[in-house]
Structures are given as structure tokens and as C-alpha cells.
Symmetry: C2
Subunit: 242 residues, 2 copies
């Protein structure tokens, strides 16, 4: 058996997220289906992150173990030939048997795209969250910096976790014409964490709350009403670092 690492991009619009679910179309499910056709066996595919329904990826990373006598480039071609066109394997790499896409990930980088204009191209509409009214990106930038810390991030999640401590290394806002991009890197993300942070940043950007409120949220230690969850379609898993 050879362990492979695969870098995967997908348009998450038509899928119920990464994780395999009975009777539902998921990214993991589609890739496992192709691998089991190729090998005649059940091959589990372990992803670094379980993206939610509607979330996209440019650099999702996964591993699987198969016994094939193919060159990497041929394996890549076969996989892409069998997968639906909205899931693309970017590359495959032979790894040592102990490689584990989730456990060994040092950090993950997500981006969240906000399209701050009424007018939008129909080619972009699936990949951004459209926001009509003006947004205060200066306040947004100021608040984004406050997420850079090692802390209990459960105020920015929907669930309770045994260990809710995460370290955010990078949290920044850039703007290019109508597009506002939030980039965040962390050693791990709680459920809905990025979308809740973005929801908070949007409340700040529209002037409903002050940037410093982020500090208060961490102090209070529980989820605030001021943190709605931003829609899935603006979110994209960009890269997993090992």
C-alpha cells in the first residue's frame, strides 16, 4: 500500500460539504467512489478540514492509501477523468506511510470574499457573499487584527468543544475595488469559526458594533448575538500547511 497526499480544489455549490454522508453528494464521497472503482476496494480519503455545505476549496489536502502501479501523473489523470468537473485534483504526492492529512496539518488558510456592490457578474455570484451597502473597511481591518491570538475561540463557534483553544496566526482584510477579502490562518478551526468571525467583522463594518467589542467577546467567553454566521458560499479553504 502506498500513502498518497492529494491537493484538491472544488466548487462546493452543489455538495453537502466535504464529509461523506449516506445518500448525499459530498466531496469526500465522490472521491472515495472514484478510488473504489479504480481499486475494487473501499478506500477512505482523510481530509485536512471538513468544509461545510457550500464552502469551496482551492487547496484542500487529503490522504489515502492504495495499491496501484501507476505514475503520479497517470493517477492524477485517471482521478480527474472520473471525478465531476467541479472537483479537481491539483496534484498527488507519494508520502511516507505515517503521513496523516488532518493530524499533521500545522495550519490552514481560509479566505472569505465579500462583494461590496449591487452590481455583480453572474460568474462570481457563486463564490462571494454580496453586500449592498457601504462597509467601513478601516474598522474591519482594526477588528481583524484582534483575532490574532491564542485563545478560547468558542465565542466564535456554534458548538461546545472539549478543547476550544486555537491559535490564529494571521487575520487580515484586503480590498481590491468592489471585493473585500478576509484571510485567516490558524492551527485549527472550530465549527463555523471563520464564518462567525466574518459575521462579526461585517457587524463592525456596517457600524453596528465597535472594533473593540471583539476584545469583550473573548472576555465574555460565550457566543454573542452580535456574531451572526456569514453565508457559506463566500468561504474558501486556500491552503493547508504541513
Amino acid at each position: 500500500m502506498q500513502t498518497y497526499k492529494a491537493i484538491i480544489s472544488y466548487d462546493g455549490t452543489s455538495y453537502h460539504g466535504w464529509q461523506r454522508q449516506p445518500k448525499k453528494k459530498t466531496i469526500q464521497g465522490e472521491i472515495e467512489k472514484v478510488l473504489s472503482k479504480m481499486t475494487g476496494k473501499d478506500i477512505p480519503v482523510i481530509g485536512a478540514g471538513r468544509t461545510d455545505a457550500g464552502v469551496h476549496a482551492l487547496g484542500q489536502t487529503a490522504h489515502f492509501k492504495i495499491k496501484v502501479s501507476m505514475k503520479n501523473s497517470d493517477l492524477l489523470k485517471s482521478l480527474n477523468a472520473c471525478l465531476p468537473s467541479d472537483i479537481r485534483i491539483v496534484s498527488v504526492w507519494k508520502m511516507a506511510p505515517e503521513f496523516h492529512a488532518r493530524k499533521m496539518a500545522r495550519s490552514k488558510i481560509y479566505q472569505y470574499r465579500i462583494w461590496n456592490s449591487r452590481s455583480i457578474s453572474p460568474f462570481q455570484v457563486r463564490y462571494v457573499h454580496q453586500w449592498y451597502s457601504p462597509l467601513d473597511t478601516v474598522a474591519m481591518r482594526k477588528a481583524a487584527k484582534l483575532f490574532i491570538r491564542e485563545a478560547d475561540f468558542s465565542p466564535f463557534s456554534s458548538n461546545r468543544f472539549l478543547n476550544p483553544t486555537r491559535t490564529v496566526f494571521r487575520s487580515s482584510v484586503t480590498q481590491k475595488e468592489e471585493e473585500i477579502i478576509y484571510t485567516v490562518e490558524s492551527n485549527g478551526f472550530l465549527r463555523y469559526m471563520v464564518r462567525t468571525m466574518v459575521g462579526t467583522l461585517l457587524e463592525i463594518a456596517r457600524g453596528k458594533i465597535e472594533p473593540d467589542e471583539v476584545e469583550e467577546m473573548f472576555k465574555r467567553g460565550r457566543r454573542s448575538l452580535a456574531s451572526p454566521t456569514a453565508p457559506a458560499k463566500g468561504l474558501c479553504l486556500m491552503k493547508v500547511r504541513y
Copy 2:
């Protein structure tokens, strides 16, 4: 009644083309549905070009006549609020009553996108025609120029027309990394004309026929087997000039 001109973009993937058809989802059908909801009347929407199933548009142009007492910006908002997200009205303009989107069009500009690489982003896959093996873009450029003429274009169409003479003003190939873009402007297009011209250019680009063969095709005056029809999804109506 006020005549309006509307500039429309759409992702054609999920539609049976521009033209209204009973029981099928079409762009014209969706826009007419929204206008009839707004006004309580049947409002025909006349497009400059009838794009085929799966073809996209950034600058389709259409006209319709309605009686509303709304500012243009409010009309634009209402239309976009009611339309599906893969159809977007870019702008609306009040026009003189004699304005006609099809009859008055001086020219239309189409682009055809070829993605010349095995690796492709799932965000682009709906909007390009993917081609794996190397393409000779020098030969393609040379051949593209031969389309610039006033001529009977039926060798590059599927149907017979009473008057198949069209004038192509511009026909050029540009390349940016993996993407090859063919741009063509004409005073009118026969059915499948752009896609058949692109099919011919692809046969030239892969070395199956010589660029000069285009000249022969015009001379023979009927469709050649060397002119397959390129797939719809690479094609986009960019602009209509008046």
C-alpha cells in the same frame, strides 16, 4: 409605455439558451416572467442575439416596453432582486420608442475561451473549453485573420440562410498563460458560426489542417468535415454595439 434597453450578463450553464421555449428554462423566459410579475402584463423582451444553450453573456442587450413610474436604479434593483442569481441586469436605459435591440445592433462581439492545460480550477470549468494537448497558437493567429472579410459564412454554419453574407470586422487570438482567447466581431452571426470558426481554428492549432485551408473553405462554399463545432460553454457574448 417607456422603451428600455437592458444590458444583461448570465451564466448560461443551467439554461436552454436565450430564447423563450415552452416548459424549458431560458434567459428570455426568466426575464419575461419577472417583468410580467412586476406589471401584471405579458412583456416581450427582445434580445440582440439568441445565444444557444450553455452559452454565456457579459453584455447581452435587450429591449422591452413597460409602463412603470420608477427611477432606472429602482427598476434595476427590482429586476435583480427577482431574477435568479445567474442572470444579472447590469444596467437599464430609457430609450426612444423606436429603439430595437436586434435590428439596430451594428455589431456583436463574442469571445471563446480555451483552457490549454490539464490542470484547471473548478471555478473556471464552467466558462472555458478545456484542451489537454499543445496548441499551435501561431497557426491559429494566422488563420484567425483570414476570417476578417465580407463573405458568405455558410461554410461555418449548420443551417442554410437566405442571406448568409456577414462582415467580420475583427478576429484575433490572444494568449495569457494557459488561456487562449478568441475574439470575433461581426455585423451578424449565422447559427453556430463562432463555434464552427473556433472548431476550425482548433483543427488548425493541433496541426490537422493548414491555416490556408480557411481560404479554401470560403471558396468551396459549403461546410467541410474539418469544421467541428466547439462546445457551448467556452462562448460568451461580450458586447453589442449600436
